[in-house]
Structure formats: C-alpha cells, structure tokens
C-alpha cells in the first residue's frame, strides 16, 4: 500500500469545500451582512456622495449610521404588527393544511392500485410549476367573471350569483393559504411516502395478527414511526409559509386594503415599491431572525432524530 500523505485529511477536505464556501460567502454572507448594515443606516438611493467602501472602480455606498432608528420606526408602525399577526395566521393555516392534505395524499398513494405510478407522477405537477403560473391558473378557476368554479357552481344551481373570492380580505387570505397548499402539499406527500416505505412489514403483520384494523394500524404503527417526518414537514412548511411572496404578487398584491399583507410582503413593498431600503431591510431582518430560529429547531428536533450521533 502506497502511503502518500502529503496533505492531512482536513486540508484535503477544505480544498474540496473551499470553492462552494467561498461562493456562498460572496453571494450569501456578504449580502447578508451588507443588508444588516443597511438596516441601521438612512439609505438614500439618489445620493451619490457620502461614506463608501472603494475597491478600485467598485464603490459600495455605506450611507449614514443612524443606530436602531429604522427598527424603532418599523416596530412603532401598527401595520407591522397587523402584518405579523396575519403572517402567523397564514403560516399556521398553511402548515395545518399542507400537513393534513400531504399526509392524506400519502395514505392514498401508499395503497396498491392500478395506475399508482401514474398518480405518483401527477403528484409532481403542482409542485413543479412556477408560483406565478400557480397563481395564474387559480385565477382561471376562481375569477368572478370567467372562473371555472363559479361557472360550475352557477350551472349546478348551487349559488345564485358568482362568488368574489378576492373581494373580501378574510376570504382572500384563506384562498392564498389554500392555493399555496395546492402547490406545496405534494412535497410533504413525497416525504411522508418515503417514511411510510421504510416502515417494516413485520410491524403491520404483527398488528394484523393482533386484530388491528386499518385505522388502528395507522394510529399505532404508521404515525409513531413517522414522527420525525412529521417534524420535518412542519418545520419546512413553517419556513416556506413565512417566506411566501410571489403568490401574493399575482393574486392579491397585499390587498384588499392591507388584508393579505404579510411580513414578507410588507418588507418587499417597503424596500422595492417605496425604495425605503433602511426600514425595508429592518422588516426583512426580523423575518430572517424567525428563520434562524427555525433552523435551530430543524437542527435540534429533526436532524438529531434521524442521526442520533448528531
């Protein structure tokens, strides 16, 4: 056996990961820190002078440090808190719907029936669409004038006049939840299915010998074995719920009024409609803090359960 130990394992490993970590440092860590800095300054996009970091031809403006004033201003705005409570409702409802529907679809797809592979393929259709297209196609179904659902309901005589799904705030918010669920639940189904297939047949056989029917097997065998997957789905859905922006853009633009304005939409509008980068990045940073919290939860609760040694 040759022994050419020019480099220690650690050094080789760092050579392998260096390009990726360097790239991530440039395109994630640097913008992240710069955005954090912006949230403590009075950003004025029209001002060309002022403090800046200069690297040759590159001139990155630093703007004037104003301490936590952006944060106090943002947190003093009732709209921020309204958006936060609305976001919490949105996330809660979305996580519940995506988990329940995702699990139900997994139960169906775990059965044996002709056409099962086809149905499993179809599962990926909603998930592979751009959210712009997802919003667009649900407009075709829910629209007041030409929506297919309204057409069907009217024709069946179930309603006297078409339903305006997006006219009233509460209804619009819940439509957003369900449309996002339509797009995202299939991924939860994939995770649940993977978990279901790793459950030993012996457990089901033993349960059956003990006289357990379908629902008892589900409750005493399937669900306990899937507990780590349930955690995983809950955490991923929570993060996705907090971050959702594009569907709001196509479906409601945060309205009517502010009735579908979530924290991420509020931060997006403040930053890029009104171009107030200072308060905007402050809002978005509160969202980032929530996501950091979810990362810790994911790390502790989910990954630790799959790999006991950590």
């Amino acid at each position: 056996m040759k022994t050419r130990r020019a480099l220690s394992e650690s050094a080789v490993a760092w050579l392998f990961v260096a390009p990726a970590l360097l790239a991530i440092g440039l395109v994630v860590a640097f913008p992240l820190v710069y955005s954090l800095w912006l949230s403590f300054t009075d950003v004025n996009l029209l001002r060309a002078t002022g403090p800046a970091v200069e690297l040759g031809a590159l001139r990155v403006p630093l703007f004037r440090w104003i301490g936590a004033r952006n944060y106090t201003q943002v947190l003093a705005d009732p709209l921020y808190w309204d958006s936060l409570w609305r976001t919490l409702y949105f996330v809660g409802a979305f996580v519940a719907e995506a988990t329940v529907v995702g699990f139900a679809m997994a139960l169906v797809l775990n059965e044996r029936f002709p056409g099962r592979p086809l149905l499993r393929s179809l599962l990926l259709v909603p998930w592979s669409l751009s959210r712009i297209v997802v919003g667009l196609l649900w407009v075709g179904i829910l629209d007041f004038e030409f929506g297919a659902l309204n057409g069907l309901l009217l024709r069946a005589g179930l309603v006297d006049s078409a339903i305006a799904f997006f006219k009233e705030g509460w209804s619009a918010l819940n439509v957003l939840v369900s449309v996002y669920m339509w797009n995202q639940a299939p991924f939860a189904t994939l995770l649940f299915l993977a978990g279901m297939q790793s459950i030993s047949d012996d457990l089901y056989a033993a349960a059956e010998v003990d006289g357990a029917g379908y629902w008892r097997r589900l409750w005493y065998v399937t669900l306990p074995a899937l507990r780590p997957i349930v955690f995983l789905v809950l955490v991923l859905a929570t993060v996705n719920g907090f971050l959702m922006l594009d569907l709001i853009y196509v479906l409601t633009m945060g309205g009517p009024g502010y009735d579908t304005t979530t924290i991420s939409w509020h931060g997006f509008k403040t930053s890029f409609t009104f171009f107030k980068f200072g308060p905007g990045t402050a809002i978005l940073y509160t969202l980032t803090a929530l996501c950091l919290l979810m990362t810790v939860v994911y790390h502790r609760l989910v990954l630790a359960r799959f790999e006991p040694e950590g």
Binding site: A13, P31, L38, R120, G151, D201, T295
Partner: protein, 297 residues
C-alpha cells in the same frame, strides 16, 4: 438505488367491495385535485375569451383556437403585441440563466457535497449549520444588497447578475442534496481507489463521480427548476425590457387589464411546460435526491 417496492399500511389483500368504492373515489378525487387546475389552464389557453365569459358555463370549449399562442409568439398582430413579444426573448434568458447556474452548482456544489459526505475535518459541523441556515434564509433579505452592489458594478439588468444572485439560494441546496447522495455510495469504492494509487481528488473525479449520475441528475434538475420558476429576484433586479426572465414577463402580462386571460393562460402554459416535462422525465432521481436531502443531516 431503486425505490423499494412493497406496499404497506394495509389493504394489500382482497378488499371488500365497500372499501374498494371508497378507495377509488378517493383516488379519483386526488387525481382531479392534482391535475384538473393545470388541465384547465390548457383548456383556457386554447379557448376564446368570449367563450370563457359565456354563461351557462361549458367544461369543453365550443371553439378551439391556437390564436392565443400565435399572439404570444408574435405570429399575428394584436393590440398588446409589445408585451407579448417579450415572451420568447425571456424564455431564452431563463434558459441561459438556468443552464449556467446549474453548471456552476454541479461543479462547485458536488465537490463540496462529496467532502461533507466523506471527510472529517475541523469546522465541518459549524459550516454545515451555516449551510443549513442559508438554505432556510429568505432570499429577499439579500436583494437590497444585490441591488446596490450590482448598481455599482453595472450588473443590473444583466443575466450575469441573475446568475450570481441565483447561486445564493441554489448552492446550499445542491451541496445538501449531493452530500445525501454520496452517503448512499459505499465508502469502500473510494478506499479501493486509494489503495490502487489514486489520490483523494482522483478517487472522487475518476471513480465516484462516474457512478453518481442519478445524484447529479437530481441536483441539476432541481437547480434548473428553481431558476426557471424564480420570480421575485428577477422582477426586482432586471427591470429593463428584454433583460428579464419568463416569470416576470408572465406576471407583467397578468397585470395588464387590456390583455385577455386566455392569452395570459397560453403564456403561462407554455412557460410551465419545460419545468413540468423536466420534472416528469427525471422524477425518479429527483424524488430520491430531494427526500434524502431533506431527511438526512
């Protein structure tokens, strides 16, 4: 790594008639829920707007037309051809950005994923946690920084800028998926390559990578799909006509009152098709790669 067969959870023996009826009713409901909305997008895209507005409502369009597609492809003149003319150019932009980002991800992300799967090294746990965090990060928080830096660099309204920005949310995913994939390849393969006189890099490049096709397909297809579907970053950074990707163009048409829904539906269907086909073709690999990448730490 074929998916394990076998059907569990009950009901794999003869079912009583009643439960069979319930099962098939449920299957039909699930199939309709998954496909009917997308199928309806197609139906609207080959209909005339006047027939969509007509009441009583018809599930099957009384007239079928390709006019909507002719309009968005610039084959016929109509009042909003300015917006529609951006369709093909933006599809080309989407394709370029998606391909370049995918290539960068596969080269850089795969190498890192391999190291995370195989080596023990100082800083591994910490950098993995940092990667996990970047995966959960709201990309929108980075965009003000990209906006200002790209303005300084002259990268606004360029595809290069989009490629850079897109790496921020794709690279952490790719590293993660590839790490999970390499963990499924037996470590003995690398060990015997080392015994045969390969160095670490040769063992990776000449021995492990050639048998990693399924993992590369999973990571590559997923990256491309994310880029093809991305909306918010492109909408903010590339505002000059002709420089942006497909989703902002479709959303822009959707915001125009003077464009019929049937025309927008055609652009949505055409724009969705490449990603749907990609996912359906590579579904086996993508499903394995993604579930492993989410479940494993």
């Amino acid at each position: 790594m074929a998916a394990r067969g076998g059907y569990r959870g009950g009901g794999y023996r003869r079912r009583p008639v009643g439960s069979r009826v319930v099962l098939y009713a449920t299957i039909t409901a699930v199939a309709l829920w998954l496909v009917a909305p997308f199928a309806w997008l197609f139906v609207t895209s080959i209909s005339y707007q006047k027939n969509l507005l007509a009441r009583p409502f018809h599930l099957l369009p009384p007239e079928v037309t390709l006019d909507n597609y002719r309009m968005i492809l610039g084959l016929v003149r109509f009042h909003a051809e300015g917006q529609a003319a951006r369709m093909l150019a933006s599809m080309w932009n989407s394709l370029m950005v998606g391909l370049v980002v995918t290539a960068v991800n596969l080269v850089v992300g795969t190498t890192a994923g391999y190291a995370y799967a195989r080596f023990r090294f100082a800083g591994k746990t910490l950098s993995l946690f940092a990667l996990l965090f970047t995966r959960m990060l709201p990309t929108i928080v980075l965009v003000p920084a990209f906006f200002l830096v790209f303005r300084a660099l002259g990268l606004q309204n360029t595809l290069t800028g989009l490629v850079i920005a897109y790496c921020s949310f794709t690279l952490p995913f790719t590293v993660w998926i590839m790490k999970a994939y390499f963990e499924t390849i037996p470590g003995d393969l690398d060990k015997s390559a080392l015994v045969d006189g390969c160095n670490r890099f040769q063992a990776y490049w000449r021995v492990v990578l050639p048998v990693s096709g399924p993992g590369l397909v999973a990571g590559g297809a997923f990256t491309f799909m994310l880029c093809w579907n991305e909306f918010v970053v492109a909408q903010i950074l590339n505002t000059r006509p002709g420089t942006t990707t497909l989703p902002p163009v479709i959303a822009g048409m959707n915001g125009q009152i003077n464009i019929d829904y049937s025309v927008i539906a055609a652009s949505g269907f055409l724009g969705a098709l490449p990603a749907v086909i990609l996912v359906l073709v590579f579904q086996k690999y993508m499903v394995q790669g993604l579930t492993a990448g989410s479940v494993k730490g």
